[in-house]
Protein backbone atom coordinates (compact mmCIF):
# COMPACT_ATOMS: atom_id res chain seq x y z
CA UNK A 1 0.00 0.00 0.00
CA UNK A 2 1.16 3.51 -0.82
CA UNK A 3 0.75 6.31 1.64
CA UNK A 4 1.46 9.87 0.56
CA UNK A 5 1.58 12.40 3.38
CA UNK A 6 1.86 16.18 2.88
CA UNK A 7 4.10 15.61 -0.06
CA UNK A 8 5.93 18.63 -1.44
CA UNK A 9 8.03 18.24 -4.57
CA UNK A 10 9.71 21.20 -6.15
CA UNK A 11 12.03 21.41 -9.11
CA UNK A 12 14.93 23.89 -9.09
CA UNK A 13 14.22 27.18 -10.84
CA UNK A 14 10.48 26.53 -10.90
CA UNK A 15 8.14 29.33 -9.86
CA UNK A 16 5.88 27.12 -7.78
CA UNK A 17 5.98 23.69 -6.20
CA UNK A 18 5.08 20.89 -8.58
CA UNK A 19 3.42 19.05 -5.73
CA UNK A 20 2.25 21.21 -2.88
CA UNK A 21 1.12 19.29 0.15
CA UNK A 22 -0.65 16.24 -1.24
CA UNK A 23 -1.92 13.39 0.94
CA UNK A 24 -3.70 10.24 -0.14
CA UNK A 25 -3.53 6.49 0.15
CA UNK A 26 -3.62 3.76 -2.44
CA UNK A 27 -4.62 0.53 -0.73
CA UNK A 28 -4.53 -3.06 -1.85
CA UNK A 29 -7.55 -4.39 -3.64
CA UNK A 30 -8.50 -0.98 -4.92
CA UNK A 31 -7.86 0.94 -8.12
CA UNK A 32 -6.88 4.49 -7.22
CA UNK A 33 -6.62 7.12 -9.92
CA UNK A 34 -4.64 10.35 -9.93
CA UNK A 35 -6.24 12.80 -12.30
CA UNK A 36 -6.06 16.46 -13.10
CA UNK A 37 -5.06 18.94 -15.78
CA UNK A 38 -1.63 18.91 -17.38
CA UNK A 39 0.98 20.18 -14.99
CA UNK A 40 -1.05 19.46 -11.89
CA UNK A 41 1.69 17.30 -10.40
CA UNK A 42 0.46 13.79 -11.16
CA UNK A 43 3.65 12.56 -12.83
CA UNK A 44 5.80 14.30 -10.24
CA UNK A 45 4.27 12.18 -7.53
CA UNK A 46 5.15 9.03 -9.46
CA UNK A 47 8.67 10.30 -10.03
CA UNK A 48 9.11 11.08 -6.37
CA UNK A 49 8.01 7.56 -5.62
CA UNK A 50 10.87 6.05 -7.59
CA UNK A 51 13.25 8.73 -6.38
CA UNK A 52 13.68 10.48 -9.69
CA UNK A 53 12.47 13.70 -8.16
CA UNK A 54 13.59 15.01 -4.79
CA UNK A 55 11.04 15.16 -2.00
CA UNK A 56 11.23 18.62 -0.50
CA UNK A 57 9.04 17.78 2.47
CA UNK A 58 6.41 15.30 3.47
CA UNK A 59 6.77 11.61 2.76
CA UNK A 60 5.80 8.68 0.65
CA UNK A 61 5.74 5.32 2.32
CA UNK A 62 5.41 2.02 0.58
CA UNK A 63 4.31 -0.84 2.74
CA UNK A 64 4.96 1.31 5.77
CA UNK A 65 8.56 2.33 4.96
CA UNK A 66 9.60 5.74 3.67
CA UNK A 67 10.88 5.51 0.10
CA UNK A 68 13.91 7.55 1.01
CA UNK A 69 15.25 4.93 3.34
CA UNK A 70 14.30 1.89 1.34
CA UNK A 71 17.24 0.34 -0.48
CA UNK A 72 16.55 0.57 -4.23
CA UNK A 73 16.18 -3.17 -4.70
CA UNK A 74 13.67 -3.42 -1.86
CA UNK A 75 11.73 -0.49 -3.29
CA UNK A 76 11.49 -2.28 -6.63
CA UNK A 77 10.23 -5.41 -4.85
CA UNK A 78 7.47 -3.45 -3.16
CA UNK A 79 6.26 -1.29 -6.00
CA UNK A 80 6.34 -1.88 -9.74
CA UNK A 81 6.13 1.23 -11.88
CA UNK A 82 5.22 1.49 -15.53
CA UNK A 83 6.51 4.93 -16.57
CA UNK A 84 4.81 7.11 -19.11
CA UNK A 85 7.21 6.52 -21.95
CA UNK A 86 9.66 3.87 -22.78
CA UNK A 87 11.55 3.45 -26.01
CA UNK A 88 13.88 0.53 -25.99
CA UNK A 89 16.91 1.54 -28.01
CA UNK A 90 17.72 -2.00 -29.00
CA UNK A 91 15.06 -4.62 -29.63
CA UNK A 92 15.02 -7.73 -27.46
CA UNK A 93 12.69 -10.67 -27.21
CA UNK A 94 9.49 -10.01 -25.28
CA UNK A 95 10.20 -12.91 -22.98
CA UNK A 96 13.65 -11.51 -22.11
CA UNK A 97 12.20 -8.05 -21.68
CA UNK A 98 9.57 -9.24 -19.24
CA UNK A 99 12.24 -11.31 -17.49
CA UNK A 100 14.11 -8.08 -16.72
CA UNK A 101 11.26 -7.40 -14.36
CA UNK A 102 12.83 -10.05 -12.14
CA UNK A 103 16.02 -7.98 -11.78
CA UNK A 104 15.13 -6.73 -8.29
CA UNK A 105 14.97 -10.39 -7.26
CA UNK A 106 17.86 -11.98 -9.18
CA UNK A 107 20.31 -9.09 -9.05
CA UNK A 108 23.57 -9.02 -10.98
CA UNK A 109 24.63 -12.60 -10.76
CA UNK A 110 22.02 -15.08 -9.68
CA UNK A 111 20.76 -17.34 -12.44
CA UNK A 112 16.96 -17.20 -12.80
CA UNK A 113 15.30 -20.09 -10.99
CA UNK A 114 11.87 -21.75 -11.08
CA UNK A 115 10.30 -18.94 -9.08
CA UNK A 116 11.51 -16.40 -11.60
CA UNK A 117 10.41 -18.40 -14.61
CA UNK A 118 6.98 -18.89 -13.10
CA UNK A 119 6.70 -15.21 -12.33
CA UNK A 120 7.48 -14.37 -15.95
CA UNK A 121 4.98 -16.91 -17.25
CA UNK A 122 2.30 -15.58 -14.89
CA UNK A 123 2.99 -12.01 -15.90
CA UNK A 124 2.75 -12.85 -19.60
CA UNK A 125 -0.53 -14.66 -19.02
CA UNK A 126 -2.04 -11.97 -16.83
CA UNK A 127 -1.23 -9.26 -19.32
CA UNK A 128 -2.57 -11.42 -22.13
CA UNK A 129 0.65 -11.39 -24.12
CA UNK A 130 1.78 -14.98 -23.69
CA UNK A 131 1.49 -15.56 -27.44
CA UNK A 132 3.83 -12.66 -28.11
CA UNK A 133 6.67 -13.98 -25.97
CA UNK A 134 8.92 -14.96 -28.86
CA UNK A 135 8.50 -11.69 -30.73
CA UNK A 136 10.96 -8.82 -30.66
CA UNK A 137 10.01 -5.62 -28.92
CA UNK A 138 10.29 -3.58 -32.09
CA UNK A 139 7.72 -5.80 -33.83
CA UNK A 140 4.83 -4.94 -31.53
CA UNK A 141 1.88 -2.65 -32.06
CA UNK A 142 1.26 0.20 -29.64
CA UNK A 143 -1.30 -1.74 -27.64
CA UNK A 144 0.82 -4.85 -27.52
CA UNK A 145 3.82 -2.87 -26.36
CA UNK A 146 1.81 -1.33 -23.52
CA UNK A 147 0.64 -4.71 -22.35
CA UNK A 148 4.13 -6.12 -22.57
CA UNK A 149 5.35 -3.27 -20.40
CA UNK A 150 2.68 -4.02 -17.87
CA UNK A 151 3.74 -7.66 -18.00
CA UNK A 152 7.25 -6.58 -17.09
CA UNK A 153 5.92 -4.73 -14.09
CA UNK A 154 3.79 -7.71 -13.12
CA UNK A 155 6.83 -9.97 -13.27
CA UNK A 156 8.21 -7.97 -10.39
CA UNK A 157 5.48 -9.58 -8.25
CA UNK A 158 5.23 -6.44 -6.19
CA UNK A 159 2.09 -5.85 -4.13
CA UNK A 160 1.78 -2.34 -5.56
CA UNK A 161 1.45 -1.35 -9.20
CA UNK A 162 1.79 2.24 -10.39
CA UNK A 163 1.10 3.25 -13.98
CA UNK A 164 1.65 6.66 -15.50
CA UNK A 165 -0.69 7.33 -18.43
CA UNK A 166 -0.72 3.76 -19.68
CA UNK A 167 -3.25 4.32 -22.45
CA UNK A 168 -1.86 7.28 -24.39
CA UNK A 169 -1.95 6.66 -28.13
CA UNK A 170 -4.16 3.60 -27.74
CA UNK A 171 -7.43 3.10 -29.54
CA UNK A 172 -10.65 2.35 -27.71
CA UNK A 173 -10.32 -1.41 -27.86
CA UNK A 174 -6.86 -1.41 -26.38
CA UNK A 175 -7.75 1.21 -23.86
CA UNK A 176 -10.63 -0.80 -22.58
CA UNK A 177 -8.49 -3.93 -22.48
CA UNK A 178 -5.93 -2.20 -20.31
CA UNK A 179 -8.49 -0.79 -17.94
CA UNK A 180 -10.18 -4.15 -17.65
CA UNK A 181 -6.82 -5.69 -16.85
CA UNK A 182 -6.04 -3.10 -14.22
CA UNK A 183 -9.43 -3.50 -12.67
CA UNK A 184 -9.02 -7.25 -12.43
CA UNK A 185 -5.55 -6.86 -10.99
CA UNK A 186 -6.90 -4.58 -8.31
CA UNK A 187 -9.63 -7.03 -7.49
CA UNK A 188 -7.06 -9.78 -7.15
CA UNK A 189 -5.43 -7.87 -4.31
CA UNK A 190 -2.85 -5.52 -5.79
CA UNK A 191 -2.86 -1.87 -4.85
CA UNK A 192 -3.13 -0.22 -8.26
CA UNK A 193 -2.37 3.48 -8.62
CA UNK A 194 -3.15 4.89 -12.01
CA UNK A 195 -2.26 8.31 -13.36
CA UNK A 196 -4.55 9.26 -16.18
CA UNK A 197 -6.23 12.23 -17.68
CA UNK A 198 -8.93 10.02 -19.21
CA UNK A 199 -11.55 11.05 -16.69
CA UNK A 200 -14.39 9.09 -18.21
CA UNK A 201 -12.63 5.75 -18.18
CA UNK A 202 -11.23 6.46 -14.78
CA UNK A 203 -14.72 7.24 -13.55
CA UNK A 204 -15.91 3.87 -14.75
CA UNK A 205 -13.17 1.72 -13.36
CA UNK A 206 -11.53 3.46 -10.41
CA UNK A 207 -12.58 2.97 -6.82
CA UNK A 208 -11.09 6.29 -5.76
CA UNK A 209 -10.19 9.37 -7.77
CA UNK A 210 -7.69 11.91 -6.44
CA UNK A 211 -8.16 15.08 -8.44
CA UNK A 212 -5.20 17.43 -8.45
CA UNK A 213 -4.88 21.00 -9.52
CA UNK A 214 -1.69 23.05 -9.43
CA UNK A 215 0.03 20.66 -7.08
CA UNK A 216 -2.77 20.44 -4.55
CA UNK A 217 -5.71 18.10 -4.10
CA UNK A 218 -8.88 19.69 -5.34
CA UNK A 219 -11.04 16.82 -4.30
CA UNK A 220 -10.84 13.08 -3.77
CA UNK A 221 -13.19 10.22 -3.23
CA UNK A 222 -15.37 7.79 -5.18
CA UNK A 223 -16.11 8.85 -8.76
CA UNK A 224 -19.66 9.90 -7.98
CA UNK A 225 -18.40 12.47 -5.46
CA UNK A 226 -15.56 13.77 -7.58
CA UNK A 227 -17.36 14.08 -10.87
CA UNK A 228 -19.24 17.31 -10.27
CA UNK A 229 -19.61 19.81 -13.04
CA UNK A 230 -18.88 22.93 -11.02
CA UNK A 231 -15.70 21.46 -9.49
CA UNK A 232 -14.41 20.15 -12.78
CA UNK A 233 -15.15 23.37 -14.59
CA UNK A 234 -13.17 25.33 -12.05
CA UNK A 235 -10.27 22.92 -12.24
CA UNK A 236 -10.07 22.47 -15.96
CA UNK A 237 -11.15 25.95 -16.90
CA UNK A 238 -13.63 24.67 -19.46
CA UNK A 239 -17.35 24.36 -19.24
CA UNK A 240 -18.51 20.80 -18.78
CA UNK A 241 -21.61 18.86 -18.06
CA UNK A 242 -21.79 15.62 -16.11
CA UNK A 243 -24.15 12.98 -17.40
CA UNK A 244 -24.71 9.37 -16.63
CA UNK A 245 -23.48 7.05 -19.37
CA UNK A 246 -26.31 4.94 -20.72
CA UNK A 247 -24.49 1.60 -20.50
CA UNK A 248 -23.66 1.20 -16.83
CA UNK A 249 -24.66 4.53 -15.36
CA UNK A 250 -21.18 5.76 -14.45
CA UNK A 251 -20.74 9.55 -14.38
CA UNK A 252 -19.38 10.85 -17.67
CA UNK A 253 -17.88 14.24 -18.48
CA UNK A 254 -19.04 16.03 -21.57
CA UNK A 255 -17.17 19.20 -22.52
CA UNK A 256 -19.32 21.96 -23.99
CA UNK A 257 -18.49 23.64 -27.28
CA UNK A 258 -18.30 27.29 -26.49
CA UNK A 259 -17.17 28.78 -23.21
CA UNK A 260 -20.19 30.48 -21.60
CA UNK A 261 -18.42 33.47 -20.16
CA UNK A 262 -16.36 34.66 -23.11
Amino acid sequence: MISVTDLVVSYPRASRNAVDGVSFDAIGGKLTALAGPNGSGKSSIVRAMIRRADITSGSITIGGTDVRILPPGELARRVAVVPQREDAAFPIQVRDYVALGRYPHVGLWRAPGKVDEDAVADALAQAGVADLSARDTDALSGGEWQRVRIARALAQKAPTLVLDEPTTFLDVAHEMAIFELLSSLARSGLAVLLVSHQLNLVARFADTIVLLTEGKIATSGPPADVMRADRLEAIYGWPVVITRDPAIGAPALVPLRRPRNL
Binding site: Y11, P12, R13, R47, I50, R51, R52, D54, P72, G73, E74, L75, A76, R77, V79, A80, V81, V82, P83, Q84, R85, E86, D87, A88, A89, F90, P91, I92, Q93, D96, Y97, L100, G101, Y103, P104, V106, G107, L108, W109, D136, R152, A153, Q156
Partner: protein
Protein backbone atom coordinates in the same frame (compact mmCIF):
# COMPACT_ATOMS: atom_id res chain seq x y z
CA UNK B 1 16.13 -11.29 -36.09
CA UNK B 2 18.74 -14.02 -35.69
CA UNK B 3 19.28 -16.06 -32.60
CA UNK B 4 22.70 -16.64 -31.18
CA UNK B 5 23.25 -20.33 -30.93
CA UNK B 6 25.58 -21.88 -28.42
CA UNK B 7 28.07 -23.17 -30.95
CA UNK B 8 28.50 -19.67 -32.35
CA UNK B 9 30.92 -19.10 -29.50
CA UNK B 10 33.20 -21.77 -30.90
CA UNK B 11 32.96 -20.05 -34.24
CA UNK B 12 33.97 -16.71 -32.81
CA UNK B 13 36.87 -18.11 -30.85
CA UNK B 14 38.04 -20.18 -33.80
CA UNK B 15 37.90 -17.15 -36.07
CA UNK B 16 40.02 -15.21 -33.61
CA UNK B 17 42.65 -17.91 -33.44
CA UNK B 18 42.76 -18.40 -37.17
CA UNK B 19 43.20 -14.70 -37.86
CA UNK B 20 45.82 -14.49 -35.13
CA UNK B 21 47.72 -17.37 -36.67
CA UNK B 22 47.63 -15.67 -40.07
CA UNK B 23 48.76 -12.46 -38.45
CA UNK B 24 51.74 -14.05 -36.75
CA UNK B 25 52.88 -15.94 -39.82
CA UNK B 26 52.72 -13.00 -42.19
CA UNK B 27 55.01 -10.06 -42.59
CA UNK B 28 57.98 -8.78 -44.54
CA UNK B 29 60.02 -11.86 -43.76
CA UNK B 30 58.28 -15.05 -44.78
CA UNK B 31 58.03 -17.48 -41.92
CA UNK B 32 56.00 -20.61 -42.41
CA UNK B 33 53.43 -21.62 -39.82
CA UNK B 34 55.55 -24.55 -38.74
CA UNK B 35 58.52 -22.29 -38.19
CA UNK B 36 56.27 -19.92 -36.30
CA UNK B 37 55.27 -22.62 -33.86
CA UNK B 38 58.87 -23.67 -33.51
CA UNK B 39 59.91 -20.07 -32.96
CA UNK B 40 57.36 -19.74 -30.18
CA UNK B 41 59.10 -22.58 -28.45
CA UNK B 42 62.40 -20.90 -29.03
CA UNK B 43 63.89 -23.21 -31.64
CA UNK B 44 64.93 -22.35 -35.15
CA UNK B 45 66.81 -19.57 -36.87
CA UNK B 46 67.49 -16.90 -34.22
CA UNK B 47 66.38 -14.04 -36.43
CA UNK B 48 63.10 -15.75 -37.18
CA UNK B 49 62.64 -16.51 -33.52
CA UNK B 50 63.31 -12.89 -32.66
CA UNK B 51 60.96 -11.66 -35.37
CA UNK B 52 58.15 -13.93 -34.28
CA UNK B 53 58.60 -13.52 -30.56
CA UNK B 54 59.56 -9.86 -30.28
CA UNK B 55 57.83 -8.31 -33.25
CA UNK B 56 54.88 -10.21 -34.57
CA UNK B 57 53.51 -12.00 -31.57
CA UNK B 58 53.32 -8.94 -29.30
CA UNK B 59 51.89 -6.99 -32.19
CA UNK B 60 49.10 -9.47 -32.81
CA UNK B 61 48.36 -9.74 -29.10
CA UNK B 62 48.29 -5.98 -28.76
CA UNK B 63 45.93 -5.71 -31.69
CA UNK B 64 43.66 -8.34 -30.17
CA UNK B 65 43.60 -6.58 -26.80
CA UNK B 66 42.92 -3.20 -28.37
CA UNK B 67 40.07 -4.64 -30.41
CA UNK B 68 38.64 -6.46 -27.43
CA UNK B 69 38.80 -3.36 -25.27
CA UNK B 70 37.18 -1.16 -27.86
CA UNK B 71 34.46 -3.68 -28.67
CA UNK B 72 33.56 -4.21 -25.04
CA UNK B 73 33.64 -0.50 -24.31
CA UNK B 74 31.44 0.30 -27.29
CA UNK B 75 28.90 -2.36 -26.40
CA UNK B 76 28.63 -1.12 -22.83
CA UNK B 77 28.27 2.50 -23.89
CA UNK B 78 25.67 1.88 -26.55
CA UNK B 79 23.57 -0.05 -24.08
CA UNK B 80 23.88 2.29 -21.13
CA UNK B 81 23.43 5.43 -23.23
CA UNK B 82 20.69 3.78 -25.27
CA UNK B 83 22.26 5.12 -28.39
CA UNK B 84 23.37 2.93 -31.28
CA UNK B 85 25.86 5.57 -32.35
CA UNK B 86 27.69 5.82 -29.06
CA UNK B 87 31.33 4.87 -29.14
CA UNK B 88 34.26 4.65 -26.74
CA UNK B 89 35.85 7.95 -27.62
CA UNK B 90 33.02 9.97 -26.10
CA UNK B 91 33.72 12.18 -23.12
CA UNK B 92 36.83 13.46 -24.80
CA UNK B 93 38.90 10.30 -24.34
CA UNK B 94 40.43 10.55 -27.77
CA UNK B 95 41.05 14.28 -27.55
CA UNK B 96 42.62 14.07 -24.12
CA UNK B 97 44.88 11.18 -25.06
CA UNK B 98 45.99 12.94 -28.22
CA UNK B 99 46.79 16.12 -26.28
CA UNK B 100 48.94 14.15 -23.87
CA UNK B 101 50.79 12.38 -26.65
CA UNK B 102 51.26 15.45 -28.84
CA UNK B 103 52.63 17.52 -25.98
CA UNK B 104 55.17 14.82 -25.26
CA UNK B 105 56.15 14.68 -28.92
CA UNK B 106 56.42 18.44 -29.15
CA UNK B 107 58.65 18.54 -26.09
CA UNK B 108 60.99 16.17 -27.84
CA UNK B 109 60.50 12.97 -25.88
CA UNK B 110 59.78 10.06 -28.10
CA UNK B 111 60.57 7.30 -25.66
CA UNK B 112 58.06 4.53 -25.58
CA UNK B 113 56.86 4.68 -22.00
CA UNK B 114 56.50 8.46 -21.77
CA UNK B 115 54.07 8.76 -24.67
CA UNK B 116 51.94 5.90 -23.39
CA UNK B 117 51.71 7.33 -19.90
CA UNK B 118 51.04 10.83 -21.17
CA UNK B 119 48.28 9.60 -23.43
CA UNK B 120 46.62 7.69 -20.60
CA UNK B 121 46.91 10.62 -18.21
CA UNK B 122 45.51 12.92 -20.88
CA UNK B 123 42.56 10.63 -21.51
CA UNK B 124 41.72 10.22 -17.84
CA UNK B 125 42.15 13.95 -17.31
CA UNK B 126 39.75 14.70 -20.13
CA UNK B 127 37.12 12.38 -18.64
CA UNK B 128 37.47 14.00 -15.23
CA UNK B 129 37.19 17.47 -16.72
CA UNK B 130 34.12 16.43 -18.72
CA UNK B 131 32.50 15.06 -15.58
CA UNK B 132 33.26 18.26 -13.71
CA UNK B 133 31.91 20.40 -16.54
CA UNK B 134 28.73 18.35 -16.69
CA UNK B 135 28.26 18.61 -12.94
CA UNK B 136 28.62 22.37 -13.12
CA UNK B 137 25.93 22.57 -15.75
CA UNK B 138 23.61 20.14 -14.03
CA UNK B 139 20.36 20.95 -12.36
CA UNK B 140 20.38 20.11 -8.71
CA UNK B 141 22.06 16.90 -7.74
CA UNK B 142 21.30 15.05 -10.91
CA UNK B 143 23.68 14.76 -13.81
CA UNK B 144 21.88 14.07 -17.02
CA UNK B 145 23.73 11.66 -19.23
CA UNK B 146 23.03 13.93 -22.14
CA UNK B 147 24.81 16.72 -20.31
CA UNK B 148 27.78 14.39 -20.02
CA UNK B 149 27.83 13.94 -23.76
CA UNK B 150 27.80 17.67 -24.39
CA UNK B 151 30.59 18.09 -21.85
CA UNK B 152 32.55 15.48 -23.78
CA UNK B 153 32.11 17.45 -26.98
CA UNK B 154 33.36 20.61 -25.26
CA UNK B 155 36.43 18.83 -23.93
CA UNK B 156 37.06 17.32 -27.34
CA UNK B 157 36.89 20.71 -29.00
CA UNK B 158 39.33 22.18 -26.53
CA UNK B 159 41.66 19.24 -27.06
CA UNK B 160 41.60 19.73 -30.81
CA UNK B 161 42.50 23.37 -30.43
CA UNK B 162 45.42 22.53 -28.15
CA UNK B 163 46.69 19.91 -30.58
CA UNK B 164 46.54 22.32 -33.47
CA UNK B 165 48.49 24.93 -31.60
CA UNK B 166 51.11 22.43 -30.50
CA UNK B 167 51.58 21.05 -34.00
CA UNK B 168 51.58 24.40 -35.75
CA UNK B 169 54.91 25.38 -34.28
CA UNK B 170 56.48 21.94 -34.24
CA UNK B 171 59.20 20.53 -36.46
CA UNK B 172 58.14 18.47 -39.46
CA UNK B 173 59.31 15.16 -38.08
CA UNK B 174 57.57 15.84 -34.79
CA UNK B 175 54.37 16.54 -36.67
CA UNK B 176 54.82 13.39 -38.65
CA UNK B 177 55.38 11.31 -35.56
CA UNK B 178 52.44 12.88 -33.75
CA UNK B 179 50.12 12.42 -36.71
CA UNK B 180 51.15 8.82 -37.14
CA UNK B 181 50.49 8.18 -33.47
CA UNK B 182 47.09 9.78 -33.74
CA UNK B 183 46.21 7.63 -36.73
CA UNK B 184 46.73 4.55 -34.62
CA UNK B 185 49.23 1.75 -34.97
CA UNK B 186 50.13 -1.52 -33.35
CA UNK B 187 53.65 -1.26 -34.65
CA UNK B 188 55.23 -0.22 -31.37
CA UNK B 189 54.06 -3.30 -29.55
CA UNK B 190 56.40 -4.38 -26.82
CA UNK B 191 55.65 -7.05 -24.27
CA UNK B 192 55.60 -4.44 -21.56
CA UNK B 193 52.92 -2.46 -23.33
CA UNK B 194 50.98 -5.63 -23.92
CA UNK B 195 51.19 -6.51 -20.24
CA UNK B 196 49.86 -3.13 -19.10
CA UNK B 197 47.04 -3.23 -21.59
CA UNK B 198 46.14 -6.78 -20.64
CA UNK B 199 45.98 -5.78 -16.99
CA UNK B 200 43.77 -2.78 -17.74
CA UNK B 201 41.44 -4.83 -19.87
CA UNK B 202 41.12 -7.56 -17.29
CA UNK B 203 40.24 -5.06 -14.59
CA UNK B 204 37.95 -2.77 -16.57
CA UNK B 205 36.50 -5.52 -18.75
CA UNK B 206 35.88 -7.61 -15.70
CA UNK B 207 34.04 -4.72 -14.08
CA UNK B 208 31.85 -4.33 -17.18
CA UNK B 209 30.98 -8.00 -17.15
CA UNK B 210 30.22 -7.78 -13.45
CA UNK B 211 27.74 -4.96 -13.98
CA UNK B 212 26.46 -6.19 -17.32
CA UNK B 213 22.91 -6.86 -16.12
CA UNK B 214 22.65 -3.29 -14.96
CA UNK B 215 23.31 -2.23 -18.52
CA UNK B 216 20.42 -4.45 -19.63
CA UNK B 217 18.16 -2.50 -17.31
CA UNK B 218 19.68 0.87 -18.17
CA UNK B 219 18.99 0.13 -21.81
CA UNK B 220 15.29 0.25 -21.04
CA UNK B 221 15.34 3.90 -20.07
CA UNK B 222 16.03 5.96 -17.01
CA UNK B 223 12.51 5.86 -15.63
CA UNK B 224 12.13 2.13 -16.14
CA UNK B 225 15.54 1.55 -14.63
CA UNK B 226 14.51 3.58 -11.61
CA UNK B 227 11.36 1.52 -11.26
CA UNK B 228 13.51 -1.61 -11.25
CA UNK B 229 15.63 -0.22 -8.46
CA UNK B 230 18.60 1.20 -10.34
CA UNK B 231 19.72 4.79 -9.96
CA UNK B 232 20.14 5.42 -13.65
CA UNK B 233 22.47 8.37 -13.29
CA UNK B 234 24.81 6.75 -10.84
CA UNK B 235 24.85 3.45 -12.62
CA UNK B 236 25.17 5.08 -16.02
CA UNK B 237 28.08 7.20 -14.87
CA UNK B 238 29.80 4.18 -13.44
CA UNK B 239 29.52 2.22 -16.68
CA UNK B 240 30.58 5.31 -18.55
CA UNK B 241 33.72 5.72 -16.48
CA UNK B 242 34.73 2.09 -16.78
CA UNK B 243 34.13 2.11 -20.52
CA UNK B 244 36.06 5.35 -20.86
CA UNK B 245 39.00 3.97 -18.88
CA UNK B 246 39.00 0.90 -21.06
CA UNK B 247 39.10 3.10 -24.15
CA UNK B 248 41.82 5.26 -22.61
CA UNK B 249 43.97 2.18 -22.04
CA UNK B 250 43.63 1.15 -25.68
CA UNK B 251 44.42 4.65 -26.92
CA UNK B 252 47.49 4.85 -24.73
CA UNK B 253 48.70 1.56 -26.18
CA UNK B 254 47.97 2.04 -29.84
CA UNK B 255 46.77 5.53 -30.62
CA UNK B 256 43.37 6.42 -32.00
CA UNK B 257 41.67 3.51 -33.71
CA UNK B 258 38.29 4.67 -34.86
CA UNK B 259 35.06 2.90 -35.69
CA UNK B 260 35.90 -0.38 -34.03
CA UNK B 261 34.03 0.55 -30.85
CA UNK B 262 31.13 1.79 -32.93
CA UNK B 263 30.75 -1.01 -35.44
CA UNK B 264 31.66 -4.14 -33.50
CA UNK B 265 28.73 -4.06 -31.03
CA UNK B 266 26.38 -3.85 -34.00
CA UNK B 267 28.04 -6.86 -35.55
CA UNK B 268 27.62 -8.73 -32.28
CA UNK B 269 23.96 -7.81 -32.15
CA UNK B 270 23.52 -8.92 -35.74
CA UNK B 271 24.67 -12.35 -34.68
CA UNK B 272 21.88 -12.42 -32.14
CA UNK B 273 23.58 -11.37 -28.90
CA UNK B 274 21.25 -9.26 -26.77
CA UNK B 275 21.87 -9.47 -23.05
CA UNK B 276 24.91 -7.43 -22.21
CA UNK B 277 26.92 -10.06 -20.47
CA UNK B 278 27.29 -12.19 -23.59
CA UNK B 279 27.15 -9.09 -25.78
CA UNK B 280 30.21 -7.51 -24.16
CA UNK B 281 32.15 -10.76 -24.43
CA UNK B 282 31.05 -11.31 -28.01
CA UNK B 283 31.95 -7.76 -28.97
CA UNK B 284 35.37 -8.25 -27.40
CA UNK B 285 35.98 -11.39 -29.46
CA UNK B 286 34.79 -9.81 -32.69
CA UNK B 287 36.74 -6.63 -32.00
CA UNK B 288 39.93 -8.57 -31.38
CA UNK B 289 39.54 -10.49 -34.63
CA UNK B 290 38.79 -7.35 -36.57
CA UNK B 291 41.76 -5.37 -35.33
CA UNK B 292 44.21 -8.20 -35.96
CA UNK B 293 42.88 -8.43 -39.51
CA UNK B 294 43.08 -4.67 -39.97
CA UNK B 295 46.64 -4.62 -38.68
CA UNK B 296 47.52 -7.37 -41.11
CA UNK B 297 46.10 -5.28 -43.93
CA UNK B 298 47.97 -2.21 -42.69
CA UNK B 299 51.22 -4.12 -42.87
CA UNK B 300 50.77 -5.82 -46.20
CA UNK B 301 48.61 -3.68 -48.49
CA UNK B 302 51.22 -1.05 -49.27
CA UNK B 303 54.39 -2.88 -48.39
CA UNK B 304 57.10 -1.86 -47.57
CA UNK B 305 55.30 1.23 -46.34
CA UNK B 306 53.13 0.65 -43.29
CA UNK B 307 49.73 2.23 -43.30
CA UNK B 308 48.32 3.50 -40.03
CA UNK B 309 45.88 1.09 -38.42
CA UNK B 310 43.32 3.83 -37.88
CA UNK B 311 43.14 4.40 -41.63
CA UNK B 312 42.09 0.81 -42.26
CA UNK B 313 39.51 0.79 -39.47
CA UNK B 314 38.15 4.12 -40.68
CA UNK B 315 37.21 2.36 -43.89
CA UNK B 316 34.85 0.30 -41.76
CA UNK B 317 32.83 3.41 -41.19
CA UNK B 318 31.73 3.66 -44.79
CA UNK B 319 29.73 0.43 -45.15
CA UNK B 320 28.51 0.79 -41.59
CA UNK B 321 26.92 4.16 -42.11
CA UNK B 322 25.56 3.11 -45.47
CA UNK B 323 23.76 0.26 -43.77
CA UNK B 324 22.51 2.56 -41.02
CA UNK B 325 21.22 4.96 -43.65
CA UNK B 326 19.39 2.17 -45.44
CA UNK B 327 17.83 1.07 -42.19
CA UNK B 328 16.46 4.45 -41.20
CA UNK B 329 15.00 5.40 -44.59
Amino acid sequence: MSRFLGWYWFLLIAALFIVAAIGVSNGAVSVSLGDVLAALHGSGDPTSVAIVRDLRFPRVVLGALVGAGLGASGAALQGSLRNPLAEPYLLGVSGGAAVGAVIVFALGFSSDGVVTIAAFVGAVGAVIVALAVSRAGARGSRVDLRTLLVAGVIVGAFANATIMVALASAEPNTVRGALFWMMGSAADATWRRVAWLALSIMVAGGALIYWAREIDVLALGEETAASLGIDAERSGRRIFLIAALLAAATVAAAGLIGFVGLVVPHMARRLGLRAHRPLVVGAALIGATLVIAADLAARTVAAPTELPLGAITALLGVPFFLVQLRRTT
